[in-house]
């Protein structure tokens, strides 16, 4: 039984009287795709932001590969091998697609002073091309990221999260606002990435927040359901689908 990549224990975050995250605990195993679902306002993004150091949790612990990272900020976490995408699209509009991907990886090798006056692609050209091909965005590789369609920018956003060979990638609603045909492509892409990077010496685990139920059920190995800041259930897609409480939470009250 291998050690969990990510172990969140009893995470709490309140905004005044609103308990956005009220005692959330879960584990993510190496190479696993872990889904997080729940109605709007259930605290999924707040939980993400707390884990990722974007906001400070009130209490609880976050342990990454055995290291306590509860108080770490986004910069430290990125250096430790955590990648993420944001709910609102965040690519660098004025840079080309290629440059976007380069920025995502360049800070993870060598030192800052070593990069001063170094060649523009930091020797990462091949890696960038490989990812461009995997995401099938070669035709727009040199275009300004801001001029592309929403769906294409989403793909770049996801690709950027993977550039630095992370051990853990957190994806916040990768399918939001994307047309149905692209949803299927994204699912296949993520499965492919999980296949190629999910094993071996440095397996990559995914945590995915999504509202698209078909997407989540088809993609994830295990799913956690959050309601009103608490964990309602954790289990395989089949278990979750059969869980009466989950159905109530979504369809009832």
């Amino acid at each position: 039984m291998s050690q969990a990549v990510l172990k969140v224990e009893n995470l709490h975050k309140a905004y005044g009287a609103i308990r956005a995250v009220a005692g959330v605990s879960f584990e993510v195993m190496p190479g696993e795709i872990f889904g997080v679902i729940g109605p709007n306002g259930s605290g999924k993004t707040t939980m993400f932001n707390s884990v990722l150091g974007q906001i400070r949790p009130d209490s609880g612990t976050v342990v990454l590969n055995g290291r306590d990272v509860t108080r770490c900020g986004p910069l430290a976490l990125s250096r430790m091998g955590v990648g993420r995408t944001f709910q609102t699209l965040q690519v660098f509009g004025k840079m080309s697609v290629r440059d976007n991907l380069l920025v995502a990886a360049q800070e993870h090798q060598g030192s800052m002073w070593g990069r001063m006056f170094a060649p523009g692609d930091s020797g990462l050209g091949a890696k960038v091309d490989a990812l461009i091909d995997q995401f099938r965005i070669r035709p727009v590789a040199d275009a300004r990221a801001g001029t592309l369609s929403y769906g294409q920018q989403k793909l770049i956003d996801i690709a950027m999260a993977f550039m630095s060979e992370p051990a853990l990638v957190l994806l916040d609603e990768p399918c939001a606002g994307v047309n149905p045909s692209l949803v299927g492509s994204i699912r296949k892409l993520l499965q492919e990435l999980n296949r190629t990077r999910g094993h071996g010496a440095h397996p990559c685990s995914f945590v995915v927040i999504e509202h698209n139920m078909d997407f989540v059920m088809a993609l994830c190995h295990r799913i956690m359901v959050m309601v009103e800041g608490r964990v309602l259930a954790i289990g395989t897609p089949a278990e979750i689908r059969a869980n009466k409480q989950v159905l109530d939470a979504y369809l009832g009250n």
Partner: protein, 328 residues
Amino acid sequence: MKKSTLFLLALAAVGLLVLPLYLKGYGVYLLSYWLVFVVATMGLNLTVGYAGQKSLGHAAFFGIGAYTVAIAMKAGISFWFGLPAAALICFVVGLILGFPALRVQTIYLAFATLGFNTAVWLLMRNEEWLTGGTFGINNIARPQLGGLSLDGNLAYYYFVLAVALLMALLLWGLLRSPWGKAFTALRDNPIRAESLGVDTRSYTLLSFAIGAVYAGIAGSLFASLVQFIEPAPFTVGASIMMYLMVVVGGPGYFFGPMLGAAVGVLLPEWLRFAQAWYLFVFGAAVVLLMIWLPDGLLSMPDRLRAKRLARQASALRAASVGVPGPRA
């Protein structure tokens, strides 16, 4: 780089080398003056245009550079020691100024840099024992390079040109390297940048420090150019003018400072024929320019390209309407 840009650059290089030979003393002096401001605004362009910070205190570094050289030379120290000393002092002070940038945002950062400029200017004005106060420091000599005297306007011009070219090449190398992308990421989306591993704190501090070094070196050149240093050119008003030069030229465009400094330094000279009205024309020109090209003069090609693309896209759309397609 495009062939056309390369050609223009070659033309400009030839012009810069040859033109002064045909100008009178004052013309050469003016070109040197322009080049000094090009170096200073290149630094501000890095801080404000490429790294997206707010800095309304750039003239303070300009002044620190100028006074360092002036005081050093008055004390008998060589210019060649004063120049790097000015650069080093500005680097350190620039780093220190970057710290407020880590804590306060946009408008308040602008105010903090204004406060900094004010403090430095007050120091220059009041510390007579060091700076000569309002009387300033005069009779600043021009340096000697080996046995060659740089005293004449023409000789000094070529020296300033050489330094400016060197600083420009360094900046070009820096911006082409991964640092350039890191600065752009810092400017356009610091939160995303941080989550990708970009050390936004360090890059912010360095954007101020490197910008300050450019201003400091420009100030050193300035001191020996005008040969008399007093606090007046280093006020908040001067910082605001430098900011104007960067924005008018085009923030984030490499050649923006060349154009911007030309507008700030040379345009008022050319407008002198309008006599009493020349500053009015200048001010009005700046307003009109901003309304027409808010991203600066060098954004013109980009705007034309965007307009052309938009026209093509709408033409395509118009052409595709009415073409029978498969049933949805």
